[in-house]
């Protein structure tokens, strides 16, 4: 029953994911290990039938016989034929590993399914049993079990399978818990499908991959454990295994090194192949292949980028930051996906500039390019970013570091995930002050406290000593603003600084940004999808669509006479009569429909 189940699971998986076998064979590790394992399995399957001698038959004439003649690999300390023993041991060792896997899958998967699906007593028992197996090394249990069950290899392996079944239990349990609350399972239940059919059809599908994934490792563990157990001399002499042969060889090492060699090779090659197969399986099933991306095609900008529609209808100020024809691309498939494709963006000294567009329009990628902090894989392919007369594209990370945090600062979108959960707010605020700006510890502390007070945190000392998870989202965003402006930067890049906050808090944070901007006279580049934010605090605005900056100009000019059809479409999408600012007396954030484009 147990073996049918596991082979059925495997067969089902092959059918469900056509090509897994082929992909495995093509995987550099997977192919080699599968060939090796196929040979080992073949030897195991045929071994007992082609063994030239009885593997347990002793003979005085062939004690430590030299290899050659009738006894191809020689004889051992009792004169048994080494080749025959090796062939038969392969069969027993593999069978032991498979038994471990079968029991672990049968027990772990079924218990995990039931516990995950129904919960209750079985759930509690499962957790308890898992904890129990983790509190004792399995070899101690197996040795103790042997005193009851005798030296039977089958019993030992069955108990070991039971003992490591929690490996499966936990994986299946977690997946089932996750799937159980999925909508499609709910739908199946309301449409009257029985539990058994739901488990069979939907839940089993979800746990298939992790179950297959663990198989190779569990078999390897079983074979290794059995070898170790038999190496201790605890095995049943009537079922020769690699472990027994190793024991025999090791203690006769002075008489003949020949005895250790073959079983050690067999055991080592098999477990290494199984482990490599497990790694290959993980790569293919989870797509974690760590191959270096080698783009077959070089990057090219595929489309023509239209010139930006510049309103240009006001006295030009001194540009602090100019982004020209910027192209940012990520490796994808055999080529690249280009997320920012060009246009022009110019931020003047001391102004607040809005960069607006839908999500996916490339505005955040533009912001990260300016900071030189694109996510993994992202690269500036073309264009220029000039900050205060200096070209930033092509600079090394260390050179950019000299600007970051001192002259260019950054306020992120999601406040909670942008504070390190393991350090206090105070530590995160003072660390850059000390390391980057070279302040003394006490001085940095004073500065951080006054900054916290400045950004409107009621009890600065308490916030200073807090960990991020003890703060509200609004407070955390204030902390991040405090950290960003600590160095009196020339340019502050704020990436959707209010999107993750409650509506009431949004208005307060915008007010704060505006106040600080006026106080420090810095330029602010504010990335947003909200025209309310732009109307509220921006002097000028640039509209971005599908990676291209399409229109730019004074906020008033763009609002009064949008030229690009996309800008007009954006305005048309703002619902008429949308709720205005929620609180009287609070700034007009959201007056054009906060989040209308969300």
């Amino acid at each position: 029953m147990t073996t049918t189940r596991s082979s059925a699971t495997r067969a089902g998986a092959r059918k469900g994911r056509p090509g897994l076998l082929r992909r495995l064979l093509r995987h550099p590790l997977g192919g080699v290990s599968m060939v090796v394992l196929a040979v080992v399995v073949l030897v195991g399957a045929l071994g007992p039938f082609i063994a030239p001698f009885d593997p347990t038959e002793t003979s005085l004439q062939t004690i430590f016989a030299e290899p050659g003649g009738d006894h191809l690999l020689g004889g051992d300390s009792a004169g048994r034929d080494i080749l025959s023993r090796l062939l038969v041991a392969t069969a027993f060792s593999l069978a032991g590993g498979l038994l471990v896997m079968a029991i672990a899958v049968a027990v772990g998967v079924s218990a995990g399914l039931v516990a995950g699906y129904y919960g209750g007593v079985i759930d509690a028992t499962g957790a308890w049993f898992t904890a129990l197996t983790m509190s004792l090394p399995s070899i101690i249990v197996l040795i103790a079990a042997r005193s009851v069950m005798g030296p039977s290899m089958w019993w030992t392996m069955a108990i070991f399978g039971l003992f490591i079944s929690p490996v499966y239990y936990r994986v299946v349990y977690t997946s089932v818990r996750a799937v159980r609350n999925e909508l499609y399972v709910d739908a199946a239940r309301t449409s009257g499908l029985g539990d058994v059919r739901i488990i069979g059809r939907h839940v089993l599908l979800a746990v298939r991959a992790p179950v297959i994934l663990l198989m190779a490792g569990v078999i390897a563990a079983g074979i290794g454990m059995q070898a170790g157990f038999d190496f201790l001399g605890l095995g049943d002499p009537t079922t020769p295994t690699w472990g027994q042969m190793l024991n025999e060889g090791f203690y006769n090492i002075n008489r003949s090194s020949n005895l250790v060699l073959w079983p050690a090779l067999a055991l080592g090659i098999t477990t290494v192949a199984l482990t490599l197969l497990g790694t290959a399986l993980r790569d293919e099933l989870e797509g974690t292949t760590d191959k270096r991306h080698s783009a077959a095609q070089p990057w090219v900008l595929e489309e023509d980028v239209p010139a930006v529609m510049d309103h240009g209808d006001e006295p030009a100020g001194e540009a602090l930051l100019t982004v020209r024809d910027l192209a940012v691309a990520y490796p994808a498939g055999t080529g690249y996906a280009t997320v920012v494709k060009g246009g022009r963006l110019s931020v003047r000294r001391g102004e607040t500039h809005g960069l607006i567009g839908e999500s996916g329009s490339g505005k955040t990628q533009t912001a990260f390019s300016i900071l030189g902090l694109l996510p993994k894989g992202g690269k500036v392919m073309a264009g220029s970013i000039v900050f205060d007369g200096e070209e930033l594209v092509g600079r090394t990370d260390a050179q950019l570091n000299a600007l970051r945090g001192s002259r260019i600062a950054y306020v992120p979108q999601e406040p909670m995930s942008n504070l390190d959960p393991s350090f206090t707010v105070g530590h995160q605020l003072t660390e850059p002050l000390v390391k980057v700006l070279g302040m003394k510890k006490a001085e940095a502390r004073e500065r951080a406290l006054s900054l916290l007070a400045r950004v409107g945190i009621p009890e600065p000392q308490r916030a200073f000593d807090s960990y991020p998870h003890q703060l509200s989202g609004g407070m955390a965003q204030r902390v991040l603003i405090a950290g960003a402006v600590a160095s009196h930067p020339d340019l502050l890049i704020a990436d959707e600084p209010t999107t993750a906050l409650d509506v009431t808090v949004q208005a307060e944070v915008l007010d704060l940004l505006r106040d600080i901007q006026e106080e420090l006279g810095m330029a602010v580049l504010i990335v947003t999808h909200n025209f309310g934010v732009v109307a509220d605090i921006c002097d000028r605005v640039t509209v971005m669509q599908k990676g291209v900056m399409v229109e730019t100009g004074a906020t008033r000019a763009v609002f009064e006479s949008p030229r690009h059809e996309y800008t007009r479409a954006l305005f048309a999408a703002i619902p008429q009569g949308a709720p205005r600012a929620p609180l009287p007396g609070v700034s007009s954030a959201g007056s054009l429909g906060a989040g209308a484009l969300r």
Partner: protein, 313 residues
């Protein structure tokens, strides 16, 4: 924090109690002829009955268990049926040897595993592949096979270390170090990989976290962000793996001790189970359980210290 630790310990006590009950009753299936073996094969029924009465197996099982549990609570685990030695003393002195092997390898594993994992995560490329290859190899080769190879090469061929035997630290510290080097190395090789892989994975995860970008945006050099923030946040999962490794190493020590003839728990476990010496087997199971529970609690405490969310809730 205090209630956190006491809660963990209470769970541990529950576990050990379950362990004791299960093991005791399970072992009853194997005791049918123990008295005969103690008395000797030639002994008649009368002599066997005397032995049965002496070791107390003539009483009902539940009475035997109550008796055992009662004295176990006072720290007395009874006497060996075969040698008459005090179980508490025998198990504790051997446990000390086994634990010193396991602790030695955990420390070595932590140092090397974290260093290699961090190296692989930050450098990537070839050093990454090298570490992953070592990790797979270490995981794949059974510990005792590794130990055998080490003995054959370093003890028998090169004669740098003693092949077998154990020198107590009280006799000679250098001798002790020499005698545990190969066993500890053998145990460590197998466990470095898992820890290195874990550290590598969680560091690569941590690199992509938002707060790392924000810290970098403040002008902090990559190196200092890695050393302080990334490593600190990767420490939690690494600790969990180290805790699990300790249990595995304890098990590995049993085999490795037998191979090196080190008088730890392993050889005792072998003789006592093959004889059916229930008091000793029970003692080994219980003391091992206690050690594991203590280590797990310690891991949880350190975990809480590393992760303020756990500590402060």
């Amino acid at each position: 924090m205090l209630s956190f630790v006491s809660r963990r310990l209470a769970t541990g006590v529950g576990l050990i109690a379950t362990l004791a009950v299960l093991t005791f009753f399970f072992l009853q299936f194997g005791v049918s002829d123990v008295a005969q073996r103690i008395a000797g094969q030639q002994a008649g029924p009368d002599a066997v009955a005397v032995v049965e009465e002496r070791i107390g197996v003539d009483r009902p099982v539940q009475v035997q268990f109550a008796d055992w549990a009662g004295s176990a609570l006072t720290g007395d685990l009874g006497r060996s049926w075969f040698s008459g030695q005090e179980v508490t003393e025998a198990v504790m002195s051997r446990m000390a040897v086994t634990v010193s092997l396991a602790v030695g390898s955990v420390v070595l594993t932590a140092l090397l595993g974290i260093t290699l994992g961090a190296l692989a995560a930050t450098r990537r490329g070839w050093s990454d592949r090298g570490v992953q290859f070592l990790a797979v190899l270490g995981q794949a080769i059974p510990g005792f096979l590794m130990a055998m190879a080490l003995v054959l090469v370093f003890a028998i061929n090169l004669d740098w270390f003693p092949a077998t035997g154990y020198t107590r630290p009280s006799e000679s510290v250098p001798g002790w170090l020499l005698s545990i080097t190969l066993p500890v190395v053998a145990l460590t090789i197998g466990s470095i990989g898992g820890v290195a892989q874990q550290v590598r994975g969680s560091m690569i995860d941590a690199f992509e976290r938002d707060y790392v970008r924000t810290l970098r945006s403040r002008g902090l050099p990559r190196r200092s962000v890695v050393l302080q923030h990334v490593l600190r946040n990767a420490a939690g999962p690494a600790l969990t793996v180290l805790g699990l490794q300790f249990v595995i190493l304890l098990g590995g020590a049993v085999i490795v001790e037998t191979l090196f003839s080190i008088p730890g728990l392993g050889p005792l476990a072998l003789t006592s189970t093959s004889q059916g010496d229930i008091p000793v087997v029970m003692g080994i199971v219980i003391v091992t359980g206690v050690v594991v529970v203590l280590v797990n609690t310690l891991v949880d405490v350190v975990q809480a210290w590393v992760n303020p969310k756990v500590r402060l809730s």
